[in-house]
C-alpha cells in the first residue's frame, strides 16, 4: 500500500460530498455532503501522517481539527435549519435565497 492508494479514495469521497453539496435542495442533505467532504479530508490527513511524517504529531493534530470542524458544522447547521424553519417554515435551499433577489 502507498500514499497514493489512500489519497485516491479520499479524493473520491471529497468529490462525492461536493456533488451532494452542490445538488441537494434539502439543507440537511446538503450538510451530509459537507460531512462526506470532511471525511475525505480526515482520511487524507491520516494518510499523509502515516506515509510522510510519522515522527511528528502535526498530521494527527490536523485530523483532530477536521473532526472538530465536522462536529461544529453539524451543530451550527442544525441550529440554522431550526432558525430558518421557525421564521419561514422552509427546509430547502432554493426557498432561502431571498437575499439574492
Amino acid at each position: 500500500m502507498s500514499l497514493e492508494l489512500f489519497l485516491l479514495p479520499a479524493a473520491a469521497l471529497f468529490c462525492i460530498g461536493l456533488f451532494g453539496a452542490l445538488t441537494q435542495q434539502s439543507i440537511v442533505m446538503l450538510m451530509m455532503g459537507l460531512e462526506l467532504m470532511l471525511g475525505g479530508v480526515i482520511l487524507a490527513a491520516a494518510a499523509v501522517w502515516h506515509y510522510i511524517a510519522p515522527a511528528t504529531s502535526e498530521g494527527q493534530v490536523l485530523v483532530v481539527v477536521a473532526v472538530t470542524a465536522m462536529a461544529l458544522e453539524m451543530a451550527i447547521g442544525f441550529a440554522v435549519v431550526t432558525a430558518l424553519f421557525r421564521s419561514r417554515e422552509i427546509d430547502m435551499t432554493d426557498m432561502a435565497a431571498e437575499l439574492k433577489e
Binding site: M1, E4, L5, L7, P9, A11, A12, L13, F14, C15, I16, L18, F19, L22, T23, Q24, Q25, S26, I27, V28, M29, M32, G33, E35, L36, G39, I42, L43, A46, A47, W49, H50, Y51, I52, A53, P54, A55, T56, S57, E58, Q60, V61, V63, V64, V67, T68, M70, L72, M74, A75, I76, F78, A79, V80, V81, T82, A83, F85, D91, D94
Partner: protein, 186 residues
C-alpha cells in the same frame, strides 16, 4: 491482510458514500453516510492511529443518530414511500465534481511525494496528547473556544424566545414576560 482490509473499507466507503444521494429514504441515506464514515474510521485505524480512528467511529455513530432524528423532523419524505428527487443542477454539479476529481487524482499520481521521514512512535496517542498539551496548545485552545462559541451560537439560533421577547425592545421591562411563571421571586 492489511491490503484486503484496505480494499474492502475503501470500496465500501465510496459506494455507501455515493448511495447517500441515491436513496429515496432519508433514514437509509443517513445510515449509508454512517457506513461511509465508519469505513473512514476503519481506514484511520489501519493507518496506525487507533485512538483517532475509534474517536471517529464513536462520534459518527452518535452524530448520525442525531442526524436521523433531524431528518425525520425536517424532511417531507422521511420514509421514502414516494420516490422523489430533490436535486438541482445535476449535470453542472456532475461536471464540476468530475473535473475536481480528475484534477485531484492527477495531482495525487503526478506529485513527487517526499519519502517517509522518521518512524512512527510506539504510542501515537501519547504523542498526540503530549503535542496538544505542549507545542500545539494554541490549536487546542482555539478548538476549545470554537466549541464554546458553537454552544452559545446554537442555543441563540435555535431558541424560540430571545431576551427582547422577554424584556421588551429596550430590555427595560421590570418583569420578564414568560409564558410560564417561575424562578426565584417571579
Amino acid at each position: 491482510m492489511d491490503v484486503a482490509v484496505f480494499w474492502v473499507l475503501a470500496v465500501l466507503g465510496i459506494v455507501s458514500g455515493a448511495m447517500v444521494f441515491r436513496f429515496d429514504s432519508m433514514a437509509r441515506a443517513t445510515f449509508s453516510l454512517l457506513a461511509s464514515l465508519l469505513c473512514v474510521g476503519g481506514l484511520v485505524v489501519l493507518l496506525g492511529l487507533d485512538y483517532l480512528g475509534i474517536v471517529i467511529v464513536l462520534m459518527m455513530t452518535i452524530e448520525m443518530a442525531i442526524m436521523a432524528v433531524f431528518m425525520v423532523m425536517y424532511m417531507m419524505n422521511p420514509a421514502g414511500l414516494m420516490p422523489m428527487t430533490m436535486m438541482h443542477n445535476k449535470k453542472g454539479a456532475a461536471v464540476v465534481c468530475g473535473l475536481v476529481f480528475a484534477l485531484l487524482a492527477a495531482g495525487i499520481v503526478l506529485a513527487p511525494w517526499p519519502g517517509r521521514r522518521g518512524r512512527a512512535p510506539a504510542d501515537p496517542t501519547m504523542d498526540l496528547g503530549m503535542s496538544l498539551m505542549g507545542p500545539q496548545m494554541l490549536t487546542m485552545m482555539t478548538l476549545g473556544m470554537a466549541l464554546f462559541a458553537t454552544i452559545v451560537a446554537t442555543v441563540v439560533l435555535a431558541t424560540r424566545r430571545g431576551r427582547y421577547d422577554r424584556l421588551g425592545d429596550d430590555l427595560r421591562a421590570t418583569r420578564a414576560d414568560d409564558p410560564v411563571r417561575g424562578g426565584v421571586g417571579r
